[in-house]
């Protein structure tokens, strides 16, 4: 397992998306997130994008108000993970069109599914953006429009 977790955090330190590839209890997760987010957010632009924390190496990158944090094993290639983060952002961009924090908040499950297509059990399996998006677009098309439409009409789709 190379990637241990992926976190999307905003500038206030609120978690916007969290995906762990090993089981941690809720308390452990909270503690870990708190420490890492505090550490990363405190860093300046001039400092490098790698933070060592406990037995993790955290690689982070900031896009506008969102921080993308990826925790990896000790022997993972840092630059490759940076490229991978960029790949996530590009995929999100392609789907949402200039993605922002609100997009991810309100379409959390979509963002999550994309991540699931890209990473499996901590291994990066897909980096082709089209391949990543195909299942999601397919689902948007074929399955009920519940995932797409906003509040008012969403529940009627059941019938």
């Amino acid at each position: 397992m190379t990637i241990r977790f992926i976190l999307l955090v905003n500038r206030q330190g609120q978690t916007r998306l969290a995906q762990y590839y090993e089981y941690l209890s809720i308390d452990e997760r909270r503690a870990l997130e708190g420490e890492i987010v505090r550490k990363c957010l405190a860093r300046t632009e001039q400092q490098c994008s790698f933070v060592e924390h406990r037995n993790y190496k955290v690689i982070y990158r900031r896009y506008a108000s969102l921080f993308f944090l990826v925790g990896v094993d000790g022997d993972e290639n840092e630059l490759a993970i940076l490229e991978f983060i960029h790949c996530i952002v590009e995929t999100l961009d392609r789907y949402f069109g200039n993605v922002c924090e609100l997009d991810i908040m309100f379409h959390l499950e979509k963002a999550h599914f994309m991540l699931e297509e890209m990473v499996m059990n901590g291994c990066i399996v897909e980096i082709n953006k089209q391949n990543i998006l195909t299942p999601i677009q397919l689902m948007d098309k074929t399955s009920n429009p519940q995932f797409k439409l906003p509040l008012s009409s969403s529940t009627f789709s059941v019938f």
Partner: protein
């Protein structure tokens, strides 16, 4: 029906939840608990949609806010089994997020997963695989391996890819799956779809990094793939694999050096993929460090990377250089300027990396320069990095008993400078080193004293708790080496300055003790000086005794080794001193105690120490009491008598007491080896009568030596072991000896082993160390010899030194003491299983290629028959059903394994030629594990459980032997100072009895 309609009509979706969270007015925690209550109600709904949405909300509440969702495990299973894909997906998401090996419903989902794995929809299959790859337990993995095995050859790349990645988890949970599926995993490396190849390489990379050895036979395949890698991701993983394999097989290194160089050349420049370049560099630094071409290219590229102003590249470049350092120090030295610049970088981790490199480059030639540079940085940076710098300087300079240092006065001044750094927090270590240098390097005693004096006199340092260690050391130093001081009065003033009230009791105790020593020194010097003058001699009218005391003082002088600055020697015989050494005389004149100064001292002491008699701390109180007690001798006559009057009044008593005290303090302390005692041979003809009575002294000495190895006075040889004194000791010591015998019985382990000198006699304590009484300044012969050796060797090794390095006393057994306790790498039991299985598979593969297929086909056939079997007998408990197939499998494999051995002999000569060039080199590596397995169980016949047990037992033995190494001798912790007290007491007793 109506109820569910309304329920779902008014249910809030995930989006509503998020929106509500942003607009809520009641506080986030309250809002969330309300939402959670809603979810708990909704999830019980019979409407699938309502239930699924509730679960979805719960999942994200768990993800983002940390809500517990273990209670919903059964609902998760329900949603997972829903037919509608969009709902099923929510169920699977919740499962992979919340299930863990202790979730009890895991037992229920085996069939569900199997059904979905075989589903028509590839995305459904994908969901099930993904879930399996997250939550697989040994049971699940065993049950579903056959299904996964079929999916590996699915016609859809989407499924193949996921099934390949899932193997990683399945292998780790159920190592026997390797025997079934490993071959197919290897086949996936040449799949038509690059995502599948990437997945296979990732899995192999993960497996290889855990334990590279079994994967060596795959090197040709990896190599082929590396030469024409479809993309950089795959190339990175492959290069990483070679990084792990290359150190195991030198020939492999030569083979891959060329493609790696090619990759590095290709990826260089502005446009190339830096990540791949970095990976290549990493692999070269770790695995190919003996390939000059590759290393040269690697260093070239590294310098290029470092020169770019990218912080990330700087960090990684420094790390790569650190890897290069052991084998190629020149590479690091080349970019020294760049590294030094990194010390002022804003990123602490870059600073640390640079610091590590710089300290790695340190040699005795550039130490001074480097430390000066670092000190400059230490003055200007923030506290955490400053302390980092300080600790690195301290540890580097003191390494191997100050091996790098030739200029000790300089180093002592550096220590003093470091102590004054505003952020410094390493007071204890600095203090320790100052004292240590004082012990070990006799020629710099005066420098150590000067440093100690300056630290002590500075009132600004007294309120910094981090410096208490330094101040204690400084106080001890001025007390111990007061003989080379120019102005003892100044020292006493420093030790008793008003701000010392800020110090904690343990430091104050040391301060008071130092005052005691300095006072004794000054007073006794004054007396000796006076007693020299004819006037005093005649007035006392007892020339004989005074002469005696002189001569005893004279006797001690040569014993002290290089005491050319000792005021006793010069004072006792000024005419001699004048003849021998002019500078010595000068110093004597400087160090002269002017008559008035003793009075000032007395006044200072009485004023400042008297309040301490009522101190609440016992140490301070005790020492203050003894000091005041001593001072009382000087001032029980009203009108503050001068020293001369005092001498006239009290006469011999006071003078002899001072002599005795001074005799105790002036004996030099040097380092002592832990085992020094045992090596000393008892001189022939020496009969020590009351050895019993002296046992106490010995035991204490020995245990202290064993514990601290710091210092050791020779006093017992000089004073207490002389026959006259011994007689006086006996009565008092009898009692203590009895107590000690008891103590020894109770704490046997703290004492030196009594069988050290079996030839001596049956007494169970080591022989006294009398042999070196008159021969050497060092406490034990062996240590002095070793120090000479050290001096010679350092002289021959470093011929460029302009001035000779002072003698640093080293003890030959210190090296073994500092050896870190060896830690055996503890390997995971599971990893052992996996490795042994891989070895079996690859060994089997090389032997007969069709044997393996036969076994896996058998496996398939048997599995499907078992399924039928399973269906017809539903009454069985699932546990039991779980066990059975593995037993079947065992038999089956045992047969196929035996077939394998029989065909083995036939097929062996037909080994393919294509890979023989690799195999030739690999066979050595391969032969060993196979042979080992053959001992355990004939080839792959037995399941790896048994071999696992073997491994386990073996590793158990390892651990046992490891722990026996860990036992460290713990000796009781005595203070140096305690010994003085004992001696002083003994001396005072002597005086009292005589």
């Amino acid at each position: 029906m109506a109820a569910t309609m309304i329920e779902s009509l008014f249910q809030r979706s995930l989006e509503d939840l998020t929106r509500g969270l942003r607009t809520q007015m009641i506080g986030e925690a309250k809002y969330l608990s309300k939402a959670l209550d809603e979810v708990k109600k909704e999830i019980k709904s019979t409407d699938p949609n309502t239930k699924a949405v509730a679960l979805q909300k719960l999942t994200y509440l768990n993800m983002l806010q940390g809500a517990d969702m273990n209670w919903a495990a059964f609902h998760v299973v329900e949603v997972m089994s829903m037919p509608k894909f969009s709902l099923k997906k929510l169920g699977y998401l919740a499962a992979s997020q919340s299930f863990h090996e202790n979730t009890d419903v895991l037992l229920l989902i085996t069939n569900l997963l199997r059904k979905d794995l075989g589903g028509k929809n590839e995305y459904e299959t994908g969901l099930a695989i993904e879930c399996l790859s997250r939550i697989a337990t040994p049971d699940l993995a065993r049950e579903l391996t056959p299904d996964l095995f079929t999916l590996l050859v699915s016609s859809r790349p989407f499924v193949r890819k996921k099934a390949t990645v899932a193997l990683l988890r399945v292998f780790s949970q159920y190592p026997d799956a390797i025997r079934v599926a490993f071959k197919r995993l290897v086949e996936k490396m040449v799949d038509s779809d690059s995502a599948v190849v990437s997945a296979a390489v990732s899995v192999l990379c993960e497996l290889t990094l855990k334990d590279p050895k079994p994967y060596l036979p795959l090197a040709p395949e990896f190599h082929k793939l590396l030469v024409d890698a479809p993309n950089n991701w795959i190339a990175i993983k492959l290069v990483k694999i070679f990084g792990a394999l290359a150190p195991l097989e030198p020939r492999l290194g030569r083979k891959i050096a060329e493609p790696l160089c090619e990759l590095m050349r290709k990826t260089g420049g502005k446009t190339g993929a830096k990540s791949l370049l970095l990976e290549c560099i990493q692999t070269v630094t770790l695995g190919l460090s003996d390939h000059p071409v590759a290393v040269k290219l690697c260093v070239e590229k590294l310098t290029e990377l470092m020169r770019e102003e990218d912080r990330n590249l700087k960090y990684l470049g420094l790390r790569a250089l650190a890897n290069l350092m052991p084998a190629h120090p020149w590479a690091v030295a080349e970019s020294k300027d760049m590294i030094t610049k990194c010390l002022s970088h804003e990123d602490p981790s870059i600073q640390k990396g640079a610091l590590r490199l710089i300290m790695g480059m340190v040699s005795d030639d550039n130490l001074t320069e480097t430390v000066q540079v670092l000190l400059q940085y230490a003055h200007s940076t923030d506290s955490s990095f400053c302390n980092e710098l300080v600790s690195v300087i301290l540890s580097t300079c003191s390494k191997d008993q100050y091996d790098l240092i030739s200029d000790f006065p300089w180093y002592v001044s550096v220590l003093a400078e470091i102590a004054r750094l505003p952020h410094c927090e390493h007071g204890e270590e600095i203090g320790r080193q100052l004292i240590d240098i004082g012990f070990r390097v006799k020629s710099v005693t005066s420098d150590v004293l000067r440093a100690g004096r300056e630290l002590l006199l500075d009132p600004a340092l007294l309120d910094r708790p981090s410096l208490y260690g330094v101040l204690s050391a400084a106080a001890w130093i001025v007390g111990e080496y007061v003989a080379s001081s120019r102005n003892p009065l100044e020292l006493i003033e420093g030790l008793l300055q008003p701000r010392t009230k800020l110090l904690p009791a343990r430091v104050r105790a040391i301060y008071v003790q130092a005052v005691f020593k300095i006072f004794v020194f000054s007073a006794s010097k004054m007396y000796r000086h006076d007693s020299l003058s004819d006037k005093l001699l005649q007035r006392e009218g007892q020339p004989g005794e005074t002469a005696d005391s002189h001569s005893s003082g004279q006797d001690e002088a040569p014993q002290r080794g290089d005491d050319d600055f000792s005021p006793h020697g010069t004072l006792a015989s000024p005419e001699e001193a004048g003849q021998t050494n002019q500078s010595c005389l000068n110093r004597t004149q400087q160090g002269e105690v002017v008559p008035g100064s003793l009075e000032t001292m007395l006044r200072l002491i009485v004023e400042n120490v008297s309040p301490l008699v009522r101190s609440t701390d016992v140490e301070v109180q005790e020492r203050a009491c003894s000091l005041i007690g001593l001072v009382q001798f000087f001032r029980d006559v009203p009108g503050f008598p001068t020293v001369e009057e005092k001498g006239a009044l009290q006469g011999i008593d006071l003078k002899e007491m001072l002599d005795a005290l001074q005799a105790v303090f002036e004996v030099e302390i040097g380092p002592v080896s832990v085992h020094a005692q045992g090596r000393v041979v008892i001189p022939e003809g020496l009969t020590v009568e009351n050895l019993d009575a002296l046992g106490y002294l010995h035991m204490e000495e020995v245990s202290e030596g064993a514990d601290e190895r710091e210092g050791h006075r020779q006093w017992e040889a000089g004073t207490l072991f002389t026959p006259q004194r011994k007689a006086a000791e006996v009565g008092q010591a009898d009692e203590s000896a009895a107590l000690l015998a008891q103590h020894r019985q109770r704490h046997e382990s703290f004492y030196l082993p009594s069988d050290a000198k079996p030839s001596q006699n049956s007494e169970d304590y080591p022989p006294p160390r009398i042999a070196n009484l008159d021969s050497t300044a060092f406490p034990s012969v062996s240590s002095s010899v070793s120090s000479h050796v050290a001096e010679e060797s350092s002289g021959s090794r470093k011929p460029r030194r302009s001035k000779p390095r002072p003698v640093v006393v080293k003890l030959d057994d210190e090296q073994e003491e500092t050896d870190p306790s060896l830690k055996l790498p503890s390997r995971d039991l599971k990893d052992e299983f996996i490795s042994s299985a891989i070895r079996d598979v690859l060994a089997g593969e090389s032997r007969s290629s069709n044997k393996y297929h036969a076994s896996s086909q058998d496996f398939e056939r048997k599995e499907s028959s078992r399924h039928r079997h399973h269906r017809t007998k539903p009454g069985r408990s699932s546990r039991h059903a779980d066990r059975e197939p593995s037993r079947d499998l065992t038999k089956q494999e045992a047969q196929s394994g035996n077939e394998g051995t029989s065909t083995d002999i036939v097929t062996r000569p037909e080994q393919s030629k294509a890979s023989s060039k690799y195999r030739g080199s690999n066979q050595v590596e391969k032969a060993q594990p196979v042979a080992e397995d053959e001992v355990d169980h004939p080839l792959a016949a037995k399941p790896s459980k048994s071999s696992g047990k073997q491994k386990h037992r073996r590793s158990g033995r390892h651990r046992a032997s490891g722990s026996s190494l860990d036992i460290s001798s713990t000796a009781p912790d005595f203070l140096l100072l305690r010994r003085y007290e004992f001696i002083v007491l003994a001396e005072l007793n002597n005086i009292a009895t005589s």
